[in-house]
Symmetry: C2
Subunit: 701 residues, 2 copies
């Protein structure tokens, strides 16, 4: 818990700026602590009062008894920096600053914030906030909070901890989960995060033995790699992080004006990061609730994409199948032995093949042993990773019987079991309570059963994936490159050192060459000017394609030098590049952006209009392994083109994946030097022939 | 009500096959009628009993007192056809057949079904079912139903009528809506629809004065145009149809093996049809509930895409904005006068520009008059079509105050008002009840407020759209074409008569031509063989491109005739087509499919890999107007290509839209003759230069 145990479980809480006025934030904190029966010390601090809310009020923080682990500061911003220092001097390690008036309020506020953070660093104090609702430990009823975090509806204790970056909406998410029956442990509204950041708080929650799952409302983080490192730890610990990321329509990180960089939207990078480190992203309240409930229910069970469904409602199975197609959930083929058992116990009108339809009205008292046999047979089938029972409108005795059978079965089989039910609790003859006690998720639509199964399967897949940690590693190639854009030739030489195939170019001097000197070149070739000072070659006559022989090349060289010298008289010319023409490849674009939040990121898309016009681009944080590269390729909408559309041979996707991995290694190793990189095009040749970078530019900072 | 009033509001119900065994379907009907207090006559029919459930039991339907409007038939399938006839002879106009055993159970069942329908036609009886849960009139408590339709949870009366094509899942949808507080009028489970079909039932509901909205769970209809015609009537009457369409992953209609037809998936056509006639499609329970509630609340209010939001939670506004971007909902720019008013009444920390942030904790008793002024100012702003107030975690007195102000404002302004609230009823100080009484929708996330606004705006847009009814019109061009594939030349001649631009071709005889005869042709041209018997010309050497002069053309003609005669010796050759080469167009594909459910449908996509490989195709039922054609073009993912990507001039989208309209007219007028049509490619030239069909094939049946 690396020192956070006293933040999450404070022995006493001081409230600086306490007030007898009930609406003031400090008063709200004290009221919550008293009403909820917090067992630790509560110390109002305000020189104006002797007593507040029946408690002794202290004139200053130095008068407060020790140990006191948290001071809530409910003072005007101007007084906060000194108060933080005073708290530190008195041995407090954590303060919660409720109010605003810091960097969001102009230059004066910025100075105040800097002073506050400086005081905190100097005195060994960590700050929650400012501009936040504070935090709550639900188990110990420690409310260092105000506003909606410190009033009804109060949370019930449980194993979910939450970090919320907006008090109002984040707590809406928490409350909606709580209303659905989810219990909480720590809830921290992190506010402006002047000191303690969301990743650090999540890390403390990963270390907290009582936390099994972390819920987050996120608008953004300043250190993306820290978030990733923490998420990797959480994944290793088997504690899912469920994130609602908002603010996605914002411009985000300003990327440099190159081709690839223009394709980069920061939300795309967040999504890539989440995917890479197993963070579960949600976009709606119900989705968040389902995710949290179903992950908690079956964290320790293996879960795959092959599932069975059983029910008495054909329509529900149809709706399930529609959603299953969308989420890659497959209806397993049941084993002959399973089908034989089903045939023995289910009625004639039943449909035995998955989806198993046992016919509406089947689960009478008399038929319950048969239903039990059927459920156990399906769950025992090795082809079935998860089971959904679509009870739909089942009520009364049949609901109770069905629930009883599932409650037994879920204990016997180490597989996730879900139910779809559309009827209210009071019509279920106690069936709802039986399912709840067995912790079997009850979902209100077949589609939500599918999504729950999908989330479990994805999370288990993320856990099993072998990966190099990408959260934190030292760069091996530092700032040894001159700032600015490298020439095509230099860029390709660097690519080669990382094993990225480039065209076999011939660098000619920036001078006239006789045809005789060019006899050994394999034609046709393209001729390009080489100069650090000319990033856009073709615009000034610096590119000639399809040169068929040495004589033509010699003439083209003279012409090109003339044209380039006229258009860019000050450019230093490094030479001319004769590059073989390759015509059997699919054009792709591979880029690297050094994102201000997440560091080096690889972007990949198809050339022509796909990446640029249609924004069909995929991103991953560098470095990554082959499996991730394969995912990138597969997730492009234009992926079928690489598979060989319209009579083309399939492209060398294996070689492409290897090259993406190599690019990701380059991006990572060179991250201290590299601003961005652009391979455009990277030609993907027919399977077996590999890929080749035809043009490339690296830009250093 | 065209005769359906006695189905929907029966004066008496006979239950044929009534039984004293409580679990039997007939017994369930009688129990529901008795328990729920149906005021009409209930007549059990079964020769074995004198009394059932305390009611006189009749030996035969002819003994039952008149008037009796519905007979429920709970008998084995074999007895049903005769019983239908007997009911008809006794003057019953409607029967409900619960059981299965008809066409779904093999040839014997099919014969039984045919006999049943024949009996019904002969005796003037209409059938609900077979294989269905029956129907309920909630207002008159008329249960001609069994299973989940005839037991708790019972529905509350209201203005929503429902047609459900699967009892189990459809009734799940109804029950979930009911649990959310939606009241119902008619609920009909239409079963196998041997006689009465879903469109006919919907039509009866459109005619029912007490029905304001029709909810449907649909797996498919056999007469798509009838559905469309009914939906057009519903739209004109201002009664929304909300549909959950399932079974979308099925193969659907088998389309012929041509190029365009292969792109056709029947679900795409359903979606196109829904969109064209204003049917609101939903995909999840919560979405259905929101849709129904919000449409009912604001059916009569104008609603556009420009909205304002107000709240005290910045995060909620961020989440709203994310969703708004996705659904085309725009945050209005408030007028200076509105901002001036807001500045006067809102606190210093407020953010006045839309999203209006009045700062958390603002709506105290003292501030309520200011909040009222602010809400009215925003609602009075002409730029604001709808208002969302994001209360989020607001509780107690502030929730009550906020609710009170909104309840007053929603009466004063003819604009939709929604709230987002995340706290439970009991913490709201009565605010929830105030909102409910004012019928202001309370939604549990900002995203669901966005979607509700979007649904209203879309529905209003659909109502306002001028359109030619497409549900039903006579075909003007009947079966006067020979079955089979027309040649390219014939096909193009037909296109011309509909005003579809085609290349200015020159038809040459299928014989040697001297260069002199070709002197007036404008080169370059393509040369193509013309034959009804050769649909795939290029495979046998029947196409030559880029012919530069008369001599080359003369030689190519000889060569082509030789090659084609060798490969297809029996083909009747109509000639050779010299066609100008056009190189400045974007390749598109326009197809017509004569769908077995919906009739003539136009498909449109971009050429190359877009339509074929990437399935980027859009569909609409023919005929349609310019606005619909424009929608089709805009909704392609590849649409930016037509707008002029990568330095190309913008393509002639106006000409393209006109041509799509012309194609839709051709598809409609020729529907009795046309099997399918394929224009591939239709070149869209730069703006102002129009479009031109380079190749075209019509196939007749």
């Amino acid at each position: 818990m690396s020192g956070f145990e006293h933040l999450f479980n404070p022995r006493a809480i001081a409230v600086i700026g306490a007030s007898p006025e009930a609406n003031r934030p400090g008063a709200q904190t004290i009221r919550a602590l008293q009403e909820r029966g917090y067992a630790g010390g509560v110390y109002p601090v305000n020189p104006k009062y002797d007593q507040i809310a029946g408690l002794r009020c202290y004139a200053a923080i130095k008068d407060v008894p020790s140990p006191c682990d948290i001071a809530v500061i409910a003072l005007p911003a101007a007084l906060v920096p000194d108060m933080v220092a005073e708290c530190g001097r008195h041995g407090l390690r954590f303060v919660v600053v409720f109010g605003g008036g810091f960097r969001e309020s102009g230059p004066e506020g910025q100075a105040r914030e800097a002073a506050m953070v400086k005081a905190a660093r100097e005195h060994g104090v960590r700050i929650i906030g400012p501009n936040c609702l504070g935090l709550v430990n639900v188990h110990s009823r420690a409310y260092a909070a105000f506003g909606s975090l410190a009033r009804a509806p109060y949370l019930q204790p449980g194993s979910v901890s939450a970090v919320i970056q907006s008090g109002g909406f984040g707590n809406s998410l928490v409350i909606r989960c709580a209303t659905a029956g989810i219990g909480f442990r720590q809830v921290v509204a992190s506010g402006s995060e002047s000191d303690l950041s969301a990743p650090e708080l999540i890390e403390a929650m990963v270390d907290d033995p009582g936390t099994r799952l972390i819920l987050m409302y996120m608008e953004g983080v300043s250190d993306g790699r820290r978030l990733v490192a923490v998420a990797e730890r959480a994944l290793a610990a088997g504690k899912p992080i469920v994130v609602w990321k908002a603010g996605n329509s914002e411009q985000g990180v300003k990327a440099a004006a190159s081709h690839t960089a223009n394709m980069t939207g920061s939300y795309d990078i967040y999504r890539a990061a989440f995917r890479q480190c197993g963070i579960v992203q949600v976009h709606e309240m119900e989705e968040a609730i389902d995710c949290v409930q179903c992950l908690l229910a079956y964290l320790d069970r293996p879960a795959g994409d092959d599932v069975a469904i059983m029910g008495g409602s054909g329509g529900s199975a149809v709706v399930f199948s529609d959603a299953a197609d969308e989420f890659g959930i497959r209806l397993s083929t049941l084993a002959p032995a399973t089908l034989a058992l089903l045939q023995k116990v289910l009625p004639n009108t039943a449909s035995l093949e998955n989806p198993v339809d046992y016919a509406a009205g089947f689960i009478t008292d008399a038929n319950t042993p048969r239903f039990r046999t059927a459920v156990n047979a399906v769950l025992a089938d090795a082809a079935v990773h998860q089971l959904g029972v679509l009870f739909a409108t089942t009520t009364g005795e049949q609901a109770r019987n069905g629930a009883t059978v599932l409650a037994e079965a879920v204990k016997k089989h180490n597989k996730p079991v879900f139910t779809f039910l559309s009827v209210p609790r009071e019509t279920m003859g106690g069936g709802m309570e039986i399912l709840e006690q067995a912790a079997i998720p009850i979902l209100p639509s077949p589609g939500r059963v599918v999504k729950a199964m999908h989330v479990l399967a994805e999370y288990q897949r993320a856990r099993k994936k072998t990966r190099t940690p990408i959260g934190d590693r030292p760069a091996s190639i530092g700032k040894r490159y001159a700032p600015g854009t490298a020439s095509e030739h230099e860029s390709k030489e660097i690519l080669k050192t990382f094993g990225i195939p480039v065209t076999s170019d011939r660098l000619l001097p920036a001078a006239s060459v006789s045809a005789a000197q060019l006899a050994d070149i394999v034609f046709p070739v393209a001729l390009k000017i080489v100069s650090r000072d000319i990033p856009h070659k073709s615009e000034i006559g610096g590119v000639r394609l399809n040169i068929r022989d040495a004589a033509e090349l010699s003439a083209a060289a003279d012409e090109m030098l003339k044209s380039v010298r006229a258009a860019a008289p000050t450019a230093k010319l490094d030479g001319l590049l004769a590059s073989p023409m390759i015509v059997d490849g699919v054009e792709t674009i591979v880029g690297v952006v050094n994102d201000s939040v997440f560091g080096p990121v690889v972007a990949f898309g198809l050339g022509g209009i796909f990446a640029e016009t249609l924004k069909d681009v995929t991103y991953r944080l560098a470095p990554f392994e082959l499996e991730t590269a394969q995912e990138m390729i597969a997730e492009l909408r234009a992926a079928p083109i690489l598979a060989g559309a319209r009579g083309r041979p399939p492209a060398d996707v294996a070689g492409l994946a290897q090259t993406l991995v190599a690019v990701s290694r380059l991006a990572w190793e060179m991250r201290e030097a590299l601003e961005e990189m652009d391979i455009n095009p990277l030609l993907v040749r027919p399977a077996g022939l590999g890929v080749v970078a035809v043009d490339a530019l690296l830009r250093f900072r």
